[in-house]
């Protein structure tokens, strides 16, 4: 799985490419992979405000819908209007043609909470381990129940 250097990453699996005061935002390969085939994308409108940690878009696979959370606050400058017609672009090219919105940031300090590629890769590994731990715990619970 690829997490390009030079991008910033959020815990909710969005990536940010910073160009001066503008943040280009999309979802990571991990996120699109977890979702599966993306069949629908709902984007905000140009001029709308997005608020850090609030949902600004929805990405849907055949099986479920997921909110996409704003990694930074700001005003939407541009949206990727090819996505509603071609939502699968998010699976094909999550860091390139699958970008979602461009935002003019209100506070560049928002970026401090984001991770580097290396940190994000570690974070993903931790998440996976925690999931495995949860599974283990579930199994133990099941076994306990069986014994009852």
């Amino acid at each position: 799985m690829e997490f390009p250097e030079g991008l910033k990453y959020s815990k909710e699996h969005e990536w940010v490419l910073v160009e001066d005061k503008v943040a280009i935002i999309g979802i990571t390969e991990f996120a699109e992979h977890e979702l599966g085939d993306v069949v629908y994308v709902e984007l905000p409108e140009v001029g709308e405000k997005v608020v850090k940690d609030d949902p600004f878009a929805a990405v849907e696979s055949v099986k479920a819908v997921s909110d996409v959370f704003a990694p930074v606050s700001g005003t939407v400058l541009e949206i990727n209007d090819t996505l509603p017609e071609n939502p699968e672009t998010i699976n094909d090219d999550p860091y390139g043609d699958g970008w979602m919105i461009k935002v003019e940031m209100t506070d560049k300090d928002d970026l401090k909470d984001l991770m580097s590629a290396e940190e994000y890769a570690e974070y993903i590994e931790q998440q996976k381990e925690e999931d495995d731990d949860d599974d283990e715990e579930e199994k133990r619970k099941d076994e306990d129940e069986d014994e009852e």
Binding site: G36, D37, E42, V62, V65
Partner: protein, 347 residues
């Protein structure tokens, strides 16, 4: 992998859409061993099942299985099931994974002294081979003449040398088979089927595709279209309920509901506005709340957003416009006939 009713289940192997289209166009193989099995034995086994369930088991010919229901006294649905009468004194019932314990308790509770009810879910695996090439693939592994096996008939025989029960049933809207064998032989059966299917483009398929396939064919999923307070008359399963039978559990409640009028009905929706309706999204008709979505997706076969939903009976006519509330926004949809997809007859 995800956890489902205590089972670790593959949601997808190569992607839901790819697997879905493989089943529609060629064939897919599903490990559905999570499905539960309950066996009823004893001199009164078949009679007992006939009294317990609304469909008419007396109409079945030898080797014929039946889609049926377990109903409570209020006519609500305990589960939807498939009954395989093996002999007059031995009935095999396939139930939903998440309901296995509930169903077993329910059946055992109503069974009298002359039947023995057993939960044998751990004993069997179930593998579903589904799609237009299913017969061709399975024929390579069995001596039985599959072209003579009609829909909803079953037989016992060897599949790739493994003792199995083979039924021409499924949950995808395609032709296909569900094959039961002892759990210890499950992996061998899976591998034999995958091998036999390799040159026919057989695709391993997961729970994700199983759900989109059954939804296109408008097959109910327990917990979505059916539950303990939903009756088969509301769910469009009238054809399962044989009032001609003198008695079955839930008959009086259903008769009363039929006489008083069905207040809500299961309908098909096709989205007119962008967006996908999902389970529990509210539905409005001329501004007034009329119901709720039970299942929804973007149909891989049709390329449209489709859903099943309960709406008030007076709003349920095909062609009616409704609105689905999708994350706070009202999106237009239209009531369409069910199913969304029906396979073309081969002959």
């Amino acid at each position: 992998m995800v956890e489902f009713a205590g089972w670790d289940m593959p949601v997808q192997y190569n992607g839901v859409i790819e697997e879905h289209l493989a089943v529609r166009g060629r064939a897919g193989l599903f490990d559905v061993s999570h499905m539960g099995e309950v066996e009823v034995r004893g001199a009164g086994a078949l009679d007992f099942c006939q009294k317990l369930t609304p469909n008419d088991l007396s109409r079945l010919k030898p080797g014929q299985a039946q889609y049926n229901l377990l109903l409570n006294e209020r006519g609500g649905t305990v589960d939807d099931i498939v009954i395989y009468p093996l002999k007059a004194d031995h009935v095999f019932i396939c139930v939903n994974a998440s309901n296995t314990d509930k169903d077993f308790d329910w059946i055992a509770k109503h069974g009298g002294a002359n039947v023995k009810v057993e939960n044998t879910s751990e004993r069997y695996v179930q593998i579903a081979l589904q799609g237009p090439l299913a017969e061709k693939i399975l024929q390579r592994l069995t001596a039985a003449r599959l072209e003579e096996l009609k829909t909803f008939y079953f037989f016992f025989g060897a599949v790739g040398g493994i003792d199995s029960m083979v039924a021409r049933t499924g949950y995808t809207g395609e032709d296909g088979f569900e094959i039961f064998c002892e759990s210890s032989e499950g992996e061998k059966l899976w591998d034999a089927l995958m091998d036999a299917g390799s040159e026919h483009g057989l695709q391993a398929a997961g729970l994700g595709a199983r759900d989109t396939l059954r939804l296109e064919r408008a097959l109910p999923l327990y917990g979505h279209e059916l539950d303990d307070v939903t009756t088969p008359l509301e769910a469009g399963l009238d054809w399962v309920v044989k009032f001609s039978k003198d008695s079955f559990l839930g008959r009086e409640a259903l008769l009363k509901q039929k006489q008083e009028g069905i207040r809500r009905r299961l309908v098909g929706l096709e989205m007119s506005d962008p967006g996908i309706a999902r389970s529990h999204y509210p539905i409005f008709r001329t501004g007034e709340r009329t119901g709720e979505v039970t299942s929804g997706t973007k149909s891989p076969t049709l390329g449209k957003a489709i859903a099943m939903a309960y709406v008030r009976a007076e709003h349920a006519a095909v062609g009616n416009s409704v609105e689905v509330e999708i994350r706070g926004r009202r999106a237009a949809a239209r009531i369409v006939p069910l199913p969304f997809y029906r396979r073309q007859p081969v002959k």
